[in-house]
Amino acid sequence: MPVKRSEPSLPLLLAVSAIVVAALAILPRFIGIYQTELLIYSMAFAIAALGFNLLLGYTGLLSFGHSAYFGAGAYAVAFIAQRLHVQSMELLILGALLSTVVIAALFGYVCVRHTRIFFGILTLALSQVLWSLAYKFFWVTGGTDGMRVPRNAITLLGGLLDFRGAGAYQRFIYSYYYYVLALFVIAVAIMWVIVHSPFGKALQAIRDNEVRAGFVGIRVRRYRWIAFVISGLFAGLAGALWVPLNGLTTPDVLYWPFSGEIVFMTVLGGFRTFFGPIIGAVAFNYLKVYAVASSQYWQLMLGCVLVLLVLVLPSGILGTFTQPPPWVRRVASGKGAFVGASLAFLVALVALFWVWTDRFGTAGDLSNVIGTVAVIAAILAWFLLMALVYHRGGMIGHAWLGVLALLLPPIGAVVGFGGPALLVLPVLGFLIAIGLGAVLPSRVPTEQGA
């Protein structure tokens, strides 16, 4: 089935990107240092997920071994910093990229001989070779203790900024934020150019039909190999940026469940869209930090989110708006179904919010689980509601209805008084949107079977 891609025009995209980057640039002034640190982590993971998606979304290869390249970048930085006493972050990144290129080229050469599940298993097996080496050669890699890269051992911008003495942590976080942001913007721009270049189109041709792509003269295996190396490079860059922030690299980033997390991020955001993996990485990072902080059973919650995601919203956060799953389309195009489902989600949202405010703060780990699950479920209900209103708005030709649905909840949250009252304005907003969606006549005929 050909996938319809509705991507915005370049000027619009540039304008929106400029606004987003400007917002990101002034954000640290308004949020605390901890949130800033979380954002740096999110951007690092976003680079990895973006690279991963070149393989999954654009080339049609599911790698289950991207931890190898992330870890290779991380360990390369640690090695060069510890053994060669290099301090300049630029040189460290360069070294990490070089090592990642070598490893990705080697592994990729082997892996691209296969596709589908064999490709996945092969990438998995090879990534585990690196893991076991990092794990077992403890006199070189520190074993499970990992390798430390303290922030006072690195300098940014060729020695212009160092992080020793008083207030080093603050200075580090705030300068490193802009450092990573700059590299993040560059990485996104490069990836955008890659997927829109003839090379990127060739990869998509290979994904859609390997045989035909071969017939028109695309050298399938070589293209896949190059895509693999580029994809690994992005993961390596992410790993290199991640180490000084984390202060330590352990074999955990090479172990295969971390590869699973990269897949998770990408699918969460939507792997059939360009920006999906970025949104997915940010969302996943917050989800994980939040879940880990609230309970020791965070894996349970993340697992449930993943299962729900696959069953209910297979096209991910962004994909739900660009390529809605069939059930969203069906529900949004029928008037009764739309009103019923929307109200159901709204009721669920309010109920879950009530559970959360009621439960949270009470002692006990399990009660925290219930509270956290309620929050996650409430976000999901809110999201589904938004998707329904958005698509209903889109279908009846009233795009502003979708915009209304997008804008009202955050406005309500900001204007609201805190506690359960936080919900009043968004609920009112949604009720207005649902009502308008139900009343206004449908201009676009029902689309079936998309």
Binding site: Q128, F137, L300, G303
Partner: protein, 298 residues
């Protein structure tokens, strides 16, 4: 010489439990084309349930002043396997079936989600302390090999592994249900057109695969404690086994388990640092040369 005998026995002991896990993984892939990432956690689940059941019943008997005989303890051991089979029979129709029409990535992802869920469910239900059914190991005692002592229970595991291999072979190649299973695995739509209830076959195949994983966990637990994270480690080894032997092949799982266990045992003795790396490299080499494995068919 003693060491050699002991190491060979150790290798075969490891192979027995590894074969059980890998055979389940392979069976599920062979019939349903699902790579079940949660399979290792099914194994861990079986181990925990068995260890807990044996421990609880022994303690209950002791509190009533009765000693529980070795025979009864052994009889309690497979409880974990049945529990896992039941779990599998519940999971397949609810979580996996809706995804068969979608790209295979989604099935892989949902099993990854299951892996995370099961990992924490085990922690939630059984807690963080390792569980063992060591009472069985103690009751069986040990025998002498030269000047060394060797636990007798390990021989039981080897026996169970052999019986399971033979039983599974007989089941798949000699029974009517085996024919149905193989037919479904070869051509799902044709099997369905011939009037087979493919949905039911899938549930059964998945449950049997889970049963094998649970049995692998159950037989291991008197010798080694059930700990958190054991599933994730075991899955990778089982993967290596099925990749070497061939995905979907029973003989392959047997041979692969023997190879992997032999390499591991030799590795621990002679090259402990690269023991795991060598395994993965062997798997990668086999995949490169023969992607379908030593015994697999395309």
């Amino acid at each position: 010489m003693e060491i050699l005998i002991i190491q060979v026995l150790n290798a075969v002991f490891q192979a027995a439990s590894l074969f059980l896990i890998a055979a389940g993984l392979s069976l599920i892939y062979g019939v349903m084309r699902i790579v079940n990432l949660a399979h290792g956690n099914f194994y861990a689940f079986g181990a925990y349930v068995s260890a807990w059941t044996v421990g609880a019943v022994v303690a209950l008997a002791a509190s009533r002043g009765v000693g529980l005989g070795l025979f009864w303890q052994l009889l309690l051991l497979p409880v974990g396997a049945f529990a896992v089979a039941l779990l599998g029979a519940l999971i397949e129709p609810t979580l996996l079936r809706p995804l068969y029409r979608r790209p295979e990535e989604y099935v892989l992802l949902i099993t990854f989600g299951l892996l995370m869920i099961l990992e924490d469910v085990l922690k939630l239900v059984f807690g963080g302390t390792p569980l063992t059914a060591g009472s069985i190991m103690d009751a069986m005692g040990s025998f002498r090999i030269g000047s060394a002592l060797y636990p007798a229970y390990n021989l039981v595991v080897i026996g169970i592994g052999l019986i399971a291999a033979l039983g599974l072979w007989w089941f798949i190649y000699k029974t009517r249900f085996g024919v149905i299973l193989r037919a479904t695995s070869q051509d799902r739509r044709m099997a369905s057109a011939l009037g087979l209830n493919v949905g039911r076959v899938y549930v059964q195949a998945f449950a049997i695969g889970c049963f094998m994983a649970g049995l692998g966990g159950a037989v291991v637990v008197p010798a080694q404690a059930a700990v958190l994270g054991m599933g994730i480690d075991a899955l990778i080894l089982a993967f290596v086994v099925v990749v070497i032997g061939g995905l979907g092949s029973l003989e392959g799982a047997l041979v692969g388990a023997l190879i992997v266990s032999a390499v591991r045992t030799a590795g621990v003795q002679f090259f402990p640092e690269v023991e795991l790396a060598v395994l993965y490299l062997i798997a990668a080499a086999v995949l490169m040369v023969r992607p379908t494995g030593l015994f697999g068919r395309a």
